[in-house]
């Protein structure tokens, strides 16, 4: 089985994880910029991080025959400080021409604050100015519903944003229709303790359809499973879905979305 891991924070993972991904059939990893688990002290920390995900991480993935793509932003957890956020956003343009950069992400909201929303809108403007794809993080737990609504409104309020070029990630049963009904792509994150399980993700495919949707592990430094996508594929097989359907969900759909960037090369 071939598949794409469309949301993974590989800077937080070991080479053993790359080996496991490769052995499970992973051909491509997609790494949005994210929170490091602590707040960085300066924009220089982000500059080094952007170098890591555009220079070093692709080489590490290549050792396991995996193509590596990335996305740039300051994540919403660090967006409460608008001064720092604007310094970081000013760094983004010089990295947008790097060969593995697909767009702006994972932008979004965390606690749904005014500052987070302002920085989200400024990221959306960067994406519009540079004609970039957008990958969006939606908030956790009790904040997800409200945050998803605010994010959808912010994106729809921008006249240059095409929903077909935006994926809104971490949807659950109560937010998937808000995203899909407006023409956006939806990402389902398979986590052991939060977000969705493989069975719930497959349920959502059955309920909301299998177009403009992908599933990912969002594996990072926390409780997460880098092999959750192939495990969900196994669960699909148990339910009787054939190889062609599974390939569409775990390879063709992410390739279709990412392929809207000229930098993405299908395997």
């Amino acid at each position: 089985m071939r598949y794409i891991e469309p949301h993974a924070h590989m800077v937080s993972r070991t080479t053993d994880d790359y080996l496991s991904l490769a052995c499970a059939g992973c051909k491509v990893v997609n790494e949005p910029a994210f929170w490091a688990g602590f707040d960085r002290a300066s924009a220089q920390g982000f500059y080094d991080y952007f170098r890591q995900i555009t220079e070093y991480e692709p080489k590490r993935a290549a050792k396991f025959c995996i193509d590596h793509y990335t996305w740039l932003c300051i994540n919403p957890k660090e967006a409460e400080d608008p001064g720092l956020a604007r310094e970081v956003m000013a760094l983004i343009p010089e990295f947008l021409e790097r060969p593995n950069v697909l767009g702006i992400g994972e932008i979004g909201l965390n606690k749904n604050s005014r500052n987070e929303l302002a920085i989200l809108e400024e990221h959306i403007q960067i994406a519009a100015d540079y004609d970039q794809l957008i990958l969006v993080h939606t908030p956790h737990l009790e904040d997800k519903l409200k945050g998803t609504k605010l994010i959808v409104d912010a994106l729809r309020n921008h006249p240059k944003i095409d929903p077909a070029r935006v994926i809104i990630d971490h949807v659950e049963e109560h937010t998937a229709p808000l995203v899909l009904d407006k023409g956006f792509w939806a990402g389902m994150t398979l986590y052991p303790e939060s977000k969705v399980t493989p069975n719930r993700a497959i349920d959502m495919l059955e309920i909301y359809g299998h177009e403009r949707i992908w599933m990912n592990s969002a594996c990072d430094w926390g409780v997460s499973d880098p092999l959750s996508v192939p495990k969900a594929a196994l669960e699909m097989r148990r339910r009787g879905y054939d190889d062609a359907f599974i390939d569409k969900i775990v390879y063709q759909n992410p390739a279709q979305f990412m392929g809207q960037s000229p930098r993405f090369k299908p395997v």
Binding site: E80, K111, N112, S113, N115, H140, L141, E142, E172, E173
Partner: protein, 78 residues
């Protein structure tokens, strides 16, 4: 079997909260209300429960003073 295990785990969790005098936590009240939705007619129970455990306000908050989430909206923070 999977659902049976999870159901009993929730029952044991509620028993544990009673035993350790934690049943008054706002998250426990929200959980109990959400559990009552399991008895409704489907489909849509998962979305209903997620909605019940969600902040239903619409305006952005003035400032984010924390970064985490707790699983249910805190009634005291409104």
């Amino acid at each position: 079997m999977d659902a049976r295990i999870k159901l009993i785990d929730i029952a044991a969790f509620l028993d544990r909260l009673d035993r350790h005098d934690q049943a008054d936590d706002y998250r426990v009240h929200a959980l109990r209300e959400a559990i009552s939705l399991l008895g409704g007619d489907g489909p849509g129970r998962a979305a209903e429960i997620l909605d019940a455990l969600s902040d239903q306000s619409e305006a952005p908050i003035e400032a984010a003073t924390i970064q985490g989430a707790f699983g249910a909206p805190n009634p005291d923070s409104k």
